[in-house]
């Protein structure tokens, strides 16, 4: 019974991740950066076109702009100060992960990025990423919008004539 209750509690965590969006240590908004400022997704998530993970930017990269941009409202000033402090003290920022695939899955962002580009000529990066991540560019807090379970992956692979051999994804 104890096991069962604990399991149910665990189920709630997952549910929270699909519906809502977790609080992050810094009130970073994609809305400002990706939509208002029109920064390309790959500018910060620079690994996405090259490697398996999309990667969160290094604090130093935030400082490209935030060395001078200190914010206009008290709220933004307060949040940007956190980034500047982190850099000054050489501390990493512990973001809360939103998307996660299990350890036995090999997911390569680069392959999906390249594949989707080839299939949708002229697609904007924002729309391309939105395939799986939803409209991140107009959100304030990022949450998971797609199941990203195996059925979901396989359906998409079938639809796009991508390989469905187990070893494609399972390591």
């Amino acid at each position: 019974m104890v096991v069962l209750l604990a399991a149910l509690a665990g189920a709630q965590v997952v549910a929270a991740q699909l519906g809502g969006a977790p609080d992050q240590p810094i009130g970073f908004t994609h809305l400002t950066h990706a939509t208002t400022l029109q920064i390309d997704c790959t500018f910060c998530h620079r690994n996405v076109t090259k490697g398996s993970t999309a990667s969160v930017p290094a604090v130093q990269q935030c400082m490209f702009c935030h060395a001078v941009v200190t914010g206009q409202t008290p709220l933004t000033q307060q949040e940007i100060a956190k980034v500047r402090d982190a850099f000054q003290n050489q501390l990493p920022i512990d973001w809360v992960r939103v998307h996660r695939v299990p350890d036995h899955v090999r997911f390569i962002h680069e392959a999906h990025y390249t594949g989707l580009r080839a299939r949708n000529p002229g697609i904007s990066t924002q729309n391309l990423c939105a395939t799986c991540h939803g409209d991140v560019a107009s959100t304030i807090k990022v949450g998971q919008v797609r199941q990203l379970r195996m059925g979901d992956c396989v359906a998409c692979h079938r639809a796009n004539n991508a390989p469905t051999d187990c070893t494609t994804c399972h390591k």
Partner: protein, 755 residues
């Protein structure tokens, strides 16, 4: 959240809540953390791998390695394809280097002893404190005019590191010694005598047609394992017109003998007589050049070797006369032939006699300076790289232990130990441990709490080779000039500093002559200076317009080599063969101690320095498949006669001491010989090594070779008795049924030319 697989199956099978439960298997909390790095170097991009070239320091060979680094952590070590010694290949010990880096029992910070010595009570101190204490103690000794009472003990060193340590010792006035448990000093002396060089020559195994090896276990941890294994592959199947033929002469069938075409069991210590008898046959049957034969017998001809007629030799060595004749004939027919001698013949009181007789055969067969024979290595490209601090022979260690114990001719007030563990390796008869009690201050620079370090008062832990700078001139070299460069592939994981950097810091603090002799601030500075010299040579594999690009390429490729820079041709003087046999001496009579004790280097643990790494502990011994333990090998018939069975715990007793270990029935050992691997029996060295197995070195008699004073580890006789207990040996054999079916005999295709 803990939900085992079995629980899950149980519950999901019996309740409708199955689907919910599946969602309940959430990953651990830390997996929801996504850390953004502070800085932006390309090489720490998430999920990207980088390969950094460096040098392996798991043994003294000096193979080149490349290390896979992902997000600042070393993940895999492989051989460096550009390194001429190992060309991309590596051995088990090299692969296991990662565990030394991320070992849970590494010494993480400087420590100062607080409790009684050897009780393991230490206090964590800062590097500043540790260095201050070290420097002030050294300054005190200087001020009292007793700098000579400081001793610095290291492992065998070569190149810049040797240069630094000897300079430091000289400038300060300290005694300096190097220690290796299975020292090759007898071999080095024999090779020096015959080939005139301090370094090893090239044994051109790859191009030989016939190899006669006297206990040279070149497919095992011996001098340069990967290099020789690589050559062996070529020797067997890589030559176009021939398949090399290997004959191994030794008392116990080793891994090398297992791979040989013929194994010749020989009475321990009589290898030299066998070699001279082969020489007798070669000369007597006119299989060798008469001029060479004349010179090598001092003009006496075959009469000079009368004592070694095959019939005589057969009686001494136990090898039938016909077999001696056959080997001599094959040697002469199948040229180029190469003759090698190793640990077995070296480890007797007549070690030098054995080895000179063995290696002299190469001259008689005119294999010296020929491809497929013995070739010489050139001197290193710069003078500081030529520096050497080879292992001091056993006798010197015995004298040093006596000095510690008796404080005569003068006491040792400070003993500094780096990368050496004499307390484990020296036979207890030497009483090194007793001597340590008389040393007021012991300072260790070890990465691990080994036996000697456990006696230390101050510990300044060394970084591992994957975290520090260095260089290595491979010895034996590949036949031309080559230097491997070692760079830190990851930042130090703990608060450790490399010994060489500490030495330079100390020299700087001491000032005066020490500072003059060692003017560099860090070891990297010294290395760059050496690299400058290489750069100015303007030859070899890297030629660049400016030094910085030379340096970068040097580190990228893991070293520098010049294949044109081979040894100059020298006409070596032909050695004169001994006329008289030199019989080996043994500790213990054959009546009281009926067995020769044959000690061999463990495949994984080597001389014991690999015992702390679980990967090496679980490396099966190739011929017995035993892991994690030590054992004593005995012929099954002998065992049956003594009423002993496999897995019996037996007492192995020598005139010097006793140990207990498990019996393994080894079908390939003569009835009068028992064999034990080195490496186990540690009282310290971390959780994987401690209190595991027994150390055969601990019952050796303090016998040395007659010339050179090397340890004669084959000179001890033992007796074996039952304890009545049993312990199942952890071994791979018998885990699964034999795969090779009975009707597949290993039948030969001998004619390679038809392919």
């Amino acid at each position: 959240m803990e939900l085992t697989r079995r629980d899950f199956l149980k519950i999901s099978g019996s309740s409708a809540a199955g689907a919910v439960l599946f969602a309940g298997c959430t990953p651990p909390e830390h997996e929801w953390k996504l850390e953004s790095p502070v800085l932006l170097p390309e090489d720490t991009l998430t999920s990207f791998e980088n390969w950094y070239a460096s040098v392996c320091r798991q043994c003294e060979a000096g193979c080149g390695i490349i290390t896979r680094v992902v997000e600042g952590r070393a993940k895999k070590i492989e051989g460096n394809p550009l390194h001429p010694l190992n060309r991309g290949k590596l051995c088990a010990r090299g692969e296991a280097g990662l565990q030394a880096l991320y070992h849970p029992d590494r010494l993480r910070t400087p420590l100062r002893r607080t409790g009684p010595r050897g009780m393991g009570q230490y206090q964590i101190i800062s590097w500043d404190e540790a260095l201050n204490e070290l420097v002030s103690r050294l300054k005190d000794q200087q001020a009292q005019g007793s700098a000579g009472a400081v001793a610095l003990v290291t492992g065998p060193l070569r190149g810049l590191e040797a240069h630094l340590v000897t300079r430091f010792a000289r400038a300060y006035g300290a005694t300096s010694l190097a220690y290796a448990p299975l020292e090759e000093t007898a071999l080095q002396a024999a090779l020096k005598q015959l080939f005139g060089q301090d370094t090893y020559p090239v044994f051109d195994i790859a191009r030989a047609n016939y190899i006669l090896s006297f206990g040279a276990n070149f497919l095992e941890p011996w001098i340069s394992q990967v290099h020789y294994n690589r050559a062996y592959g070529e020797f067997r199947q890589g030559q176009r017109t021939q398949r090399g033929y290997l004959v191994q002469v030794e008392p116990r069938l080793s891994t090398t003998a297992a791979n040989a075409d013929e194994w010749v069991p020989v009475t321990p210590g009589t290898e030299g007589v066998l070699a001279l008898s082969i020489a007798y046959v070669l000369i007597d049957r006119r299989l060798a050049s008469p001029t060479v034969a004349q010179a090598m017998t001092g003009g006496a001809g075959v009469q000079g070797l009368g004592a070694f007629r095959p019939e005589e030799a057969s009686r001494i060595t136990g090898v039938p006369a016909e077999r001696i004749e056959a080997i001599a004939k094959a040697l002469a027919e199948r040229r180029p032939a190469l003759v090698l001698g190793g640990l077995g013949p070296a480890g007797h009181t007549n070690g030098l006699f054995n080895l000179t007789a063995i290696y002299a055969l190469n001259f008689l067969l005119e294999s010296v300076g020929r491809p497929g024979g013995v070739l010489l290595n050139p001197a290193p490209p710069t003078p500081e790289l030529a520096a050497r601090a080879p292992a001091s022979p056993f006798l010197e260690w015995q004298r040093f232990a006596e000095r510690l114990r008796t404080k005569q001719p003068r006491p040792v007030n400070i003993l500094m130990v780096h990368d050496a563990n004499p307390l484990y390796g020296l036979p207890p008869a030497v009483q090194f441990g007793e001597g340590l009690k008389n040393v007021p201050v012991i300072i260790s620079f070890s990465s691990f709490m080994d036996e000697t370090t456990a006696m230390a008062d101050l510990i300044l832990p060394d970084s591992t080779y994957l975290e520090s700078w260095g260089e290595s001139i491979p010895d034996p070299g590949p036949g031309f000039q080559a230097v491997g460069f070692q760079q830190p592939v990851v930042k130090p994981y703990f608060s450790t500093r490399s010994f060489t950097d500490v030495l330079l810091t100390v020299a700087g603090e001491l000032g005066g002559q020490a500072k003059e002799e060692l003017p560099w601030n860090t070891y990297k500075d010294a290395l760059r200076e050496t690299a400058q010299r290489l750069f100015r040579l303007n030859r070899g594999s890297i030629r660049k317009p400016d030094f910085e690009s030379f340096w970068n390429t040097l580190l990228q490729e893991g070293g520098w080599r010049d294949e044109q820079a081979t040894a100059p041709r020298v006409d070596l003087r032909l050695p004169v063969l001994a006329r008289q046999s030199q019989p080996p001496q043994f500790s213990g009579t054959d009546k009281d101690y009926p067995f020769y004790l044959h000690v061999f280097a463990s495949a994984g643990l080597s001389d014991g320095r690999g015992a702390h790494l679980p990967w090496l502990q679980m490396t099966p011994d190739p011929t017995t498949t035993i892991m994690w333990q030590s054992w004593v090998e005995m012929n099954p018939r002998t065992a049956a006669a003594l009423g002993l069975r496999e897995n019996d715990v037996v007492v192995v007793e020598s005139p010097q001491g006793r140990l207990e270990t498990m019996l393994y029935l080894y079908p390939a050992i003569p009835p009068g010989v028992v064999a034990m691997p080195t490496g186990q029996g540690h009282t310290y060295l971390g959780r994987y090594a401690e209190k595991r197995g027994a150390n055969p070195l601990s019952i050796l008699a303090p016998m040395a070779t007659a010339e050179g004073g090397a340890l004669a580890w084959g000179a001890t006789r033992v007796r074996i008795s039952k304890t009545g207990r049993q312990y199942p040996l952890p071994k791979l054999e018998g885990s699964v049924p034999a795969v090779q079916p009975e009707d597949y005999t290993i039948i030969p295709v001998t004619d390679l030319r038809t392919r």
